[in-house]
């Protein structure tokens, strides 16, 4: 049968977001691919040139809406580098709690979408229910369920609510038990193993050269993580190891990427629990918003010629903000904000990984790289 181009998207149940994947198939085999992005390009980088540094935080939440806290914190660290602010330690701990719970929620969303891609419908409901627990916690912290606008330049907007630590511990411990149920549904299912092993190989060196990091990279047998390579926040104070998966000799396949994320959920839960235990001042004390224990005084103007950048370990890889100061309002607004999205780089790589496999493997491979189009298109 002749080769033909199929267009998967922009409206397609597989694509986890609004983008098109044009696939050239020869029967059932994928021969060529071409991803097409930009459907929800909102011009965030341009908008940020007309906003104050505090106003930009809300935009960054909406970059990757499934993982909002990681993005707003990524921006805030870059802004703090630009404005040269030192952050109180308690604020760093609170940020870590927020970031790690957000990472769990993001991975749960991924797992809940990955199951139906491969055919298992139940796990979507199960994962979203646990995600509700995490979103409840984040709602207590940030005020809304998805876009929290939580960090401020110099700290966080408010402290842990009363009783938060106790509820967080209960929920995280319950969650750690529930992970075993997901593993039972996936790892003990031969059908899943057959679908996801041997599919979508990628080797670490080619991934790095291509710009892919994060769980996708750690699935290949290397434990590179920005949190220890270019450390920020208080990860050095806590006991943790980034999960690594031994891949096969041909590289990391979808099964490895799945396993890394499941283990990452466990590691994030343990990080959050440790941070609650080690919080300076105790997790049960509560400071008013604006208290110097949680928010340092920060300048609001960045003069021309200053720059700030920060590499951040997002749920999907390495995200980076680069801010050039000296914009409108004599530096109250940035001159240029540049956002590095891990998935923008991963999607072309995943599209290449698909060549040679079957059409049925497309959602398996694409889903295993965890695309989120909000950050891709900015």
């Amino acid at each position: 049968m002749a080769e033909m181009w199929i267009s998967m998207g922009p409206q397609h149940p597989m694509t986890h977001g609004l983008w098109t994947l044009k696939v050239k198939v020869d029967g059932e085999t994928v021969v060529d691919t071409e991803p097409d992005l930009g459907y929800i390009h909102r011009g965030v980088e341009k908008i940020c040139e007309a906003r104050d540094f505090t106003q930009i935080t809300t935009y960054c939440d909406r970059l990757c809406y499934a993982s909002a806290n990681t993005w707003s914190h990524s921006y805030i660290y870059a802004a703090e580098d630009l404005l040269e602010v030192e952050v109180p330690e308690r604020a760093e701990y609170i940020r870590l709690v927020a970031i790690e719970i957000q990472r769990i929620a993001s991975h749960l969303m991924w797992l809940g979408a990955y199951g139906p891609d491969i055919g298992n419908l139940s796990v979507m409901v199960w994962c979203l229910r646990e995600r509700e627990m995490m979103m409840d916690l984040l709602q207590e912290l940030g005020g809304s369920r998805m876009h929290y606008n939580f960090p401020r330049v110099g700290g966080v907007k408010r402290d842990l609510p009363h009783g938060f630590a106790q509820r967080a511990r209960a929920k995280l411990k319950l969650f750690l038990n529930r992970i075993q149920e997901y593993e039972a549904l996936f790892d003990e299912s031969t059908v899943f193993l057959v679908r996801s092993q041997g599919v979508g190989y990628a080797k670490p060196e080619e991934m790095v050269n291509h710009g892919v990091t994060g769980p996708n990279l750690r699935a290949g047998g290397v434990n590179y993580d920005i949190r220890w390579a270019h450390p920020y926040s208080v990860y050095s104070e806590l006991d943790w190891e980034p999960p690594v998966e031994r891949s096969s000799i041909k590289g990391a396949d979808c099964y490895d990427r799945y396993r890394v994320r499941v283990e990452e959920m466990r590691v994030s839960a343990s990080l959050a629990l440790q941070a609650l235990d080690k919080m300076p001042g105790g997790a049960d004390t509560h400071h008013e918003p604006g208290d110097p224990m949680i928010l340092a005084k920060a300048p609001t103007r960045a003069p021309e010629g200053t720059t700030g950048a920060h590499h951040f370990e997002d749920s999907r890889g390495e995200s980076m903000f680069y801010i050039a100061g000296g914009g409108e309002g004599r530096g109250k607004q940035p001159y240029r904000v540049s956002i590095r999205s891990p998935i923008f780089i991963t999607i072309p790589f995943a599209a290449k990984c698909m060549i040679g496999y079957k059409v049925a493997d497309i959602p398996a491979i694409m889903g295993s790289f965890d695309p989120c189009i909000g950050e891709t298109d900015r």
Partner: protein, 528 residues
């Protein structure tokens, strides 16, 4: 000893036959019995010497008598078809209900006890309200006592308050009619009233024919399926052959639908479906052949009678052919395209597969046809392997000393239809269970599984069935050791295969399957 065919009091076939013959006899008697002479005699002329008589002599009554058997069978067939179709559609209403509710419960992961408790405890503080108060004449007051009693002894503890918020589903619907029951009707109404859209360059003739083929063959299957010992539309001697033949025509309709829609997705879906259904027809037919060989007949009713056996010592086929039962289950799930074999309509890739372009009543009817095929599969399993309309341990229970009489009465009073339905519905619940837990297998893996594993196994099953029939079967009821040995052997094999022996090797290996990639992917190999 010649055994009588099994029966019960719900003899619809008999009633229909006697009714039609009674009514035809009445018509016959009412007809005038005199000869009506309509002969015309042409007198002889110079061309022909003898007078020619042409024309008939009508005798209405005799004429009617000559066509009466045909009329009777036609009327009987019409009645039985209508009855069977109605029975099938009414009892099929349970199927989407089971699917929806059971999958809902599995997805809730609440568990059986919590589900039961939710009847009085509600879910996270949401209950049905004090519904018993709406009953007239104060009938609800004792219900209220029971409710409060249950709540006081097995009520809600508040330890799980933290997570109870996520269970927030309330209980809508009339309490006496299973809530959610009318969803199926509402869905069907919606499909029936939707616009009929044909894609622009679709092959219109084939596009319209395809749903007709699928639906017609599916409904025709039910012509041969006996719902009870005397509830069937047709019972030819080779009903099994006819039925499996018709069951296998639907892939043709599926392929037509996939091709005619002028859509690359549906084309891929149609091809996958054709390949899959063809691949699984063969093990299915060989398994069914095994059942037929064992039971000694191609007639479904005789197969059920074989399982019901003589007065004692009957054995259901599932205990004699456990491998066959498992094969039948798997191949039927593939034939009706349910998860894990629903690659042809895999939503994640092909949106809806071969029926993407169909909307409105055509889609609704094909969707119904899919459930009809699942239902047929469940009923067939119940008939072939689970003894059809026999109650479990029917002979043993009836043969007990004191209580046997009561059981006998109960078994006589309950029509066989009830047992068939219960078994079919329970088996459908198993289908749903499988659907909710397993992932979708990829097409080439499905085909590999069908051709390389199921086909040889079905051959093995056929050999076992042949040996049982020829060597072990003596015309007398089965000895107890036969089914016990076979079932235990199958269970032992299953357990042995299911236990992972070398944990370490598995842990390290963990890559039992491979795929064949055409061209190894690597960055830079993408042409611009």
């Amino acid at each position: 000893m010649i055994h009588m065919a099994s029966g019960d009091w719900l003899d619809i076939v008999g009633w229909s036959e006697s009714f039609t013959s009674w009514s035809m006899d009445n018509v016959h008697d009412v007809m005038p019995s005199n000869d009506i002479d309509m002969e015309v005699t042409i007198p002889s002329t110079w061309a022909w010497p003898e007078p020619i008589t042409i024309g008939p002599i009508f005798n209405l009554q005799q004429g009617f008598a000559s066509i009466q058997p045909a009329l009777e069978s036609f009327m009987h067939a019409t009645i039985m078809c209508t009855v069977v179709f109605t029975v099938m559609m009414l009892t099929m209403l349970a199927i989407p209900y089971i699917e929806r509710k059971f999958i809902g419960r599995l997805m809730d992961r609440l568990g059986a006890t919590t589900t039961l408790r939710s009847l009085w405890v509600g879910e996270s503080g949401v209950t049905a309200g004090e519904w018993w108060k709406q009953l007239p004449f104060g009938m609800g007051i004792p219900i209220g006592w029971v409710f409060n009693l249950l709540n006081s002894y097995w009520g809600n503890s508040h330890e799980l308050e933290t997570v109870s918020r996520v269970n927030n589903r309330s209980y809508h619907g009339y309490w006496f009619l299973l809530p959610g029951f009318f969803q199926a009707f509402a869905d069907f109404m919606k499909f029936a009233t939707k616009e009929h859209i044909v894609p622009k360059n679709a092959d219109k003739v084939v596009f319209e024919i395809a749903p007709v083929i699928i639906l017609a063959t599916t409904i025709m299957v039910f012509a041969f399926v006996p719902f009870g010992p005397h509830i069937y539309a047709a019972n030819p001697e080779l009903s099994l052959l006819f039925m499996m033949a018709i069951f296998g025509v639907a892939p043709l309709g599926v392929f037509f639908a996939g091709w005619a829609s002028n859509n690359k997705y549906t084309l891929i879906g149609g091809m996958r479906s054709a390949a899959q259904l063809t691949a699984y027809e063969i093990p299915l037919l060989i398994t069914v052949l095994g059942v037929a060989v064992l039971s000694g007949s191609f007639n479904i009713i005789e197969i059920v009678d074989f399982q019901m056996g003589q007065n004692e010592g009957n054995v259901w086929n599932i205990f004699l052919l456990p491998l066959g039962a498992a094969l039948f289950l798997i191949t039927m799930i593939a034939e009706v395209e349910r998860i894990p074999f629903d690659m042809p309509e895999a939503e994640a890739e092909l949106v809806e597969g071969w029926w993407t372009e169909y909307g409105g009543i055509r889609w609704g009817l094909m969707f119904a046809a899919e459930y009809m095929r699942s239902y047929a599969a469940c009923i067939l399993f119940a008939l072939f392997f689970l003894g059809g309309w026999e109650a479990p341990f029917q002979h043993t229970l009836s043969g007990l000393s004191t209580v046997g009489g009561t059981f006998e009465t109960v078994f006589t009073a309950v029509p066989g239809l009830v047992w068939v339905l219960i078994k079919a519905w329970l088996l459908f619940a198993v289908f749903v269970w499988i659907r909710a837990s397993l992932h979708r297998v990829r097409t080439d893996q499905i085909l590999e599984f069908g051709w390389r594993y199921l086909l040889p196994l079905s051959m093995v099953n056929l050999v076992v069935a042949t040996i049982l029939r020829l060597e072990v079967w003596t015309g007398e009821p089965w000895d107890l050791w036969v089914p016990v040995t076979l079932t235990l052997a199958a269970l032992a094999l299953f357990v042995i295969l299911a236990i992972d022996e070398d944990e370490e090797a598995l842990e390290v290996q963990r890559r039992p399957y491979s795929t064949q990639a055409v061209v190894k992917a690597s960055p830079g190999s993408h042409r611009d």
